[in-house]
Amino acid sequence: MNNTVKKYLPLFPVLAGYFLLFLVGKNMEGKWQLIAMLAFYCAVGQAFNLFMGMTGYVDFGYVAFLGVGTYGMAIAISRWSDQGLGLGLLVIGLLMAIGMATLLSLAVGAVALRLRGAYFAIATIGVNEGFRYLIEGARLWNGSEGIIFTAQLNTAFGRDFANVLSTYWADVALFFIAPFAAFLTLCFLRSRIGYALTAIRTDEDAAKVMGINVTRYKIIAFIVSASLAGMIGAVSWALKLTYVFPPDVFAISYTIEAIIIVLLGGAGTLLGPIVGGLIYGLSKYYLAVILPGFQLLIFAPIIIVIIVLFPEGTVGVLKKRVQGTAWEKIIV
């Protein structure tokens, strides 16, 4: 087996997982919404894992990157829908989403990433809330009235395509973004960035002594993770809903969900986010069906139990099990 194949072998279970998920959604009557939700959770987990899983830092303001990504796409479509850009408009929207998420992460990271542990977490809560109130208070991007761009989307792409775009392609895009995030995770894991981040996660001071510029590597992980979040916001919030309101996109509950997904799956593992995303999404969905209204009450203790019993997450435990066997090369 040649080396490149060997190197990227662990991607196959991830790709197979997303492909299977897509097939199920395509072929099972009435399950597309569920599958889209699962894909969303997996994608967010995959993107968040690149930062939280790799560095061990918990960013409670993570949803802000999805939020500004949503705004990026919304602004692009509402401003330039009549320019006859065609699909180029989507590219511009996506680039704006990435650009805005990157800028925000650079600004936040340059300051907050000098803090550690709980201090970093607390500082980032402020970022999310602060950004929301900035938009509302300063009437930035239409303030609390938000941006509704359903009409502009219709102008730009025609009613039929706009409809397919938000009900189908916005979800399908996740099946590209999530594997892309997984691919980046593997690139990280296999390169000096990954080793630097492993060192930082276990002992930041020792990492510095080893010659690792810890701030630089943390910021790299932060920016990459944030720009992926921006892309997810742009497609599965902006394109899908065709509107954006500050309280919807800067809701801390999404951050909490992302943290749970990463922990359930196994922080810093390649397979973790898809496993965690599926466990979380499915149990949330079916608990809501079986015991409507009580799902959170039951869900919380289940999560606590899982995290206490398996602090390394499902994939973390699995990885230990397969150590020394042939599976070791695939389950990463």
Partner: protein, 255 residues
């Protein structure tokens, strides 16, 4: 590079923590390839001196030169690429990473780091695993090793950085005499094959000092007490008085 220029030079280095003067005007020169022991009782300022050389803390006064370059306020992570490696008193390997990965990380970010790929670092790690005699443990997570093995991994990790100066913080504390002799042997081997200077910090284990160092600097209450060739230093009456106290008959004889 001139051979006469000292590898490391401390000029009147002082470090205070509030009212406590942890390092008090210490000057020291380390030449290429030299092995120096810094000894002194607990609280003498050895660790702080190491932290100052290493850049973990910056001195309040004095200058530090490495190969003639002023590094007094150079950030800690920029010192490893210059050639300053370090091991800790309580070993701090990256527990979740394997032994091989731990050592390879040293290679990736050390003096040769910029021209080494991940694969090359792994190959180099294997060589050092051989040197420290942990061949069977390459793929084990470093966190699962015994304390002595962790210490060995840490030494190998520091060596993989290809340093010109290796700071060893209590490499032999808590070891039995047999392990100490083995460690001394290893350090000698390192000195001869790796061509680096070693500054080792030692609290009580005099047999290690005698077997290893060419020169001894004794610290007492933050200041330098003596800086002499090993035998003279260990028999210096001032050292015996402040550091060794009053040894029973024959105590020094068995070193």
């Amino acid at each position: 590079m001139s051979e006469r220029m000292p590898l490391l030079k401390l000029e009147n280095v002082t470090k205070r923590f509030g009212g406590l003067v942890a390092v008090d005007g210490v000057s020291l020169e380390v030449r290429h390839g030299e092995v120096i022991a810094i000894v002194g009782p607990n609280g003498a300022g050895k660790t702080t001196l190491f932290n100052v050389i290493n850049g973990v803390v910056f001195p309040d006064g004095g200058k530090i030169y490495f190969e003639g370059k002023d590094i007094t306020t150079l950030p800690v992570y920029k010192r490893a690429p210059l050639g300053i490696g370090r091991t800790f008193q309580i070993p701090r390997p990256f527990g979740s990473a394997s032994v091989r990965e731990n050592i390879a990380i040293g290679g990736m970010f050390g003096t040769q780091g910029h021209m080494m790929s991940v694969d090359q670092s792994m190959e180099m790690a294997d060589r050092y695993i051989g040197l420290i005699g942990l061949k069977g443990h390459s793929d084990k997570p470093a966190g699962s090793l015994t304390p002595t093995e962790k210490k060995l991994v840490e030494i190998a990790r520091a060596l993989a950085m290809k340093p010109k100066l290796l700071l060893m913080d209590e490499a032999m504390a808590g070891m039995n005499p047999k392990d100490i002799d083995r460690m001394v042997q290893l350090i000698k081997e390192i000195r001869d094959t790796e061509k680096l200077a070693i500054v080792a910090m030692v609290e009580h284990i005099m047999r290690a000092v005698a077997g290893l160092a060419e020169r001894v600097m004794v610290m007492h209450q933050g200041a330098k007490l003596v800086d002499e060739p090993t035998m003279e230093a260990l028999s210096d009456p001032r050292v015996i008085e402040v550091y060794l106290g009053h040894p029973p008959e024959g105590h020094l004889a068995d070193r």
